[in-house]
């Protein structure tokens, strides 16, 4: 059961991710990305991360991706033009990526070859545990993220507002 769930959503995630990469129109990419995020949320649940799964859907798929789509619409971005120019990138990129992937997968495989995940084995990923950690151990980063967000707000204003005069 877990295996099937995993396989199904992993497959969705991968297919959507590939779609992100191969689609030439940004809106298709954006929607595929939402798909990736959704399926990831399912996998999070599988790993017992209830809060994160929710946040994934709400913050990521909900807020951030909406922002993307909004900007795509705003800029009226069309399909990208086919221009060469990056032969080198492809030449270099594909083998490198394969190498990267192979390496990481190889190492991961060797490290965690035998441990298995089964649904419900880990149940401390609920809002309560998260909240407790946030306000004790992770109080500082949590507070500091406010600064981060403030910076983001200021930045967005600075860059995107119209001239007053």
């Amino acid at each position: 059961m877990d295996v099937i769930l995993f396989l199904v959503f992993a497959l969705i995630a991968v297919v959507c991710a590939i779609n992100v990469v191969v689609q030439t129109h940004p809106i298709s990419s954006a929607l595929s990305l939402v798909g990736v995020m959704g399926s990831l949320a399912v996998l999070y649940l599988l790993l017992g991360a209830e809060f994160i799964a929710a946040a994934q859907v709400i913050v990521y798929a909900g807020a951030i991706m909406v922002l993307f789509v909004f900007v795509i619409m705003l800029l009226n971005a069309g399909a990208e033009a086919k221009k060469g120019r990056s032969f080198m990138v492809q030449l270099l990129g594909v083998p490198l990526l394969i190498a990267f992937l192979g390496l990481v997968a190889f190492f991961v495989q060797r490290m965690y070859g035998d441990e298995a995940v089964s649904f419900g084995m880990f149940q401390k990923g609920g809002p309560k545990e998260i909240g407790q950690a946030l306000f004790t151990t992770y109080l500082l980063p949590f507070e500091v993220t406010s600064l981060l967000i403030l910076v983001a707000i200021v930045g967005a204003i600075v860059l995107a507002r119209k001239e007053i005069d």
């Binding site: 981060l148 200021v154 600075v158």
Partner: protein, 486 residues
């Protein structure tokens, strides 16, 4: 551990500089609608006030040194050194910005606020003892920097600079984060002390750790613009507003190096034999790429960007040394480098004029005739960048190569020193232009030094000379603090 967590007043003292910076930054923006445009210099004054306060704060924090927030932060000499350094960089960035912003008729409050936030992020990074804290600090610093690089939003080069910086920076951050994840996977913690303990006890998977180190190396090397991840720096420095380029080349870089060293000297120290050859190679590559590519540059900002790549290479030599002396050398180097580089950029700011028109090497022609004071100060920075004795740049190089030789890095030392001879060429070109040619349009039309710019040139020049003649003051502190990192 979480259960007995309580509010600890000492923690607040230790966190004081960041608080002050954030408060002043916010305050600036609150004041913006009240003060209106006519008082644009007031924001500069305020931000200097804030920086000075933060400077006091970091000293106060150092008086009360120790871990804070359950080991998230460690206030030690090392961290304080870099806190003070980044704050000083901030002050030296504000000074030339007065004139720069006025010239561009740009908004000042947000600029200064972003600067303060960015410095707050850097201060956080350098005292962080937890990778997640490092990550957040890094992001605060970086995101503010992205914005500042593109601050003049109607300027095409600013846009391009910001975009490149942002996209590539986020890209590299992705790698860094992946590294953090792998470390978490390998050790179950991202606290540097804990990680180190795990690694020392051989609990962690060495290969996974090595891959994690490699990935974090990517992220950090990117931030310090070390080869082969230096590639963004020339474009970004060239395109960003000149004071921002100055800031980027000093502040975030110093903070990133601080983190780099802290991570690799604490958490990854036990696997030093593995990463040392990599840093060795990166150091050499950075020096060579930076110096050789700079030989042909005509844009001063771009040239200084390449030079900053080369200097990153020298600093990596210090990391390669893997010794307390190496750490002290790095601290000293960053201090003198920050001073001389930011001074050099201030000189460029001075000459560049509205819209950064005059940033070509040729534009410096005859500056010494028209503005001997500015030229002389710029000369000090250039000589220091070359590494002529009695300047900070010389001692910095000297300490680094001494540390390297003590760790038997003979070839790296020889190649590094030869590189510094190559570097002399392009710095000399500017000197040639300033002193040995008739004035260009830029030097003919340049306005006299304003107070802010004057301070922005004189203070780092004094600092450079002091570091060159009495390096003891800084070096002793660096030596003591460096010995405590592990």
């Amino acid at each position: 551990m979480p259960a007995n967590f309580g509010f600890n007043p000492a923690d607040m003292t230790r966190f004081l500089p960041e608080i002050l910076l954030a408060v002043f930054g916010t305050f600036l923006m609150v004041l913006d609608p009240i003060l209106q445009k006519r008082a644009s210099y007031a924001f500069g004054h305020l931000s200097i006030l804030g920086l000075l306060a933060a400077l006091g704060g970091s000293l106060a924090a150092y008086n009360n040194a120790g871990p804070a927030f359950g080991g998230m932060l460690v206030i030690d000499g090392y961290g304080t050194f870099f806190r003070v350094l980044t704050i000083a960089v901030g002050i030296l960035t504000v000074l030339p910005s007065y004139r720069f912003l006025a010239r561009q008729e740009a908004e000042t409050s947000e600029y200064h606020a972003l600067l303060l936030f960015s410095i707050a992020g850097q201060c956080l990074m350098v005292v962080a003892n937890d990778l997640i804290m490092v990550f957040i600090g890094l992001e605060i610093s970086s995101i503010s920097s992205y914005i500042m690089a593109g601050y003049l939003r109607d300027d095409k080069r600013n846009n391009e600079s910001a975009l490149k910086y942002f996209l590539l920076g986020s890209f590299a951050t992705g790698f860094f984060l992946y590294g953090v994840a792998l470390i978490y996977g390998a050790t179950g913690s991202v606290n540097l002390s804990t990680v180190r303990a795990h690694v020392l006890q051989q609990n962690a998977e060495p290969v996974l750790l090595a891959v994690a180190a490699a990935l974090m190396f990517v992220g950090l090397a990117f931030k310090v613009s070390a080869a082969p991840f230096q590639i963004w720096a020339p474009d970004v420095y060239q395109g960003a507003p000149t004071p921002v380029s100055a800031f980027l080349s000093a502040g975030p870089k110093a903070a990133a190096f601080a983190v780099f060293l802290r991570i690799f000297y604490t958490a990854f120290e036990p696997i030093g034999a593995r990463w040392e050859p990599l840093v060795w190679g990166a150091a050499l590559l950075s020096m060579c790429i930076g110096n050789f590519a700079a030989l042909l540059q005509t844009n001063v900002k771009r040239m200084l960007a390449y030079s900053s790549i080369a200097h990153a290479g020298y600093v990596l030599v210090a990391i390669t040394a893997r010794s307390g002396d190496g750490a002290a050398a790095l601290m000293f180097y960053m201090a003198s480098y920050a001073l001389m580089n930011i001074g050099a950029f201030a000189a460029v700011t001075y000459l560049s004029g509205k819209g950064d028109r005059f940033v070509d090497v040729e534009d410096f022609k005859g500056l010494a005739k028209k503005q001997p004071m500015a030229a002389a100060l710029f000369t000090i920075f250039l000589l220091s960048l070359i590494g002529v004795p009695l300047t900070g740049g010389f001692f910095a190089k000297f300490y680094i190569f001494r540390a390297a030789l003590e760790s038997h890095l003979v070839w790296l030392t020889v190649l590094g020193l030869l590189n510094s001879a190559v570097a002399a060429y392009y710095y000399l070109r500017i000197l040639v232009m300033m002193y040995m040619h008739e004035p260009s349009e830029a030097s003919e039309t340049v306005e006299p030094l304003s107070t802010g710019l004057r301070l922005a040139l004189v203070l780092p020049a004094l600092g450079t000379l002091v570091l060159g003649i009495f390096p003891n003051w800084v070096l002793e502190f660096a030596g003591k603090s460096a010995a405590m990192i592990r």
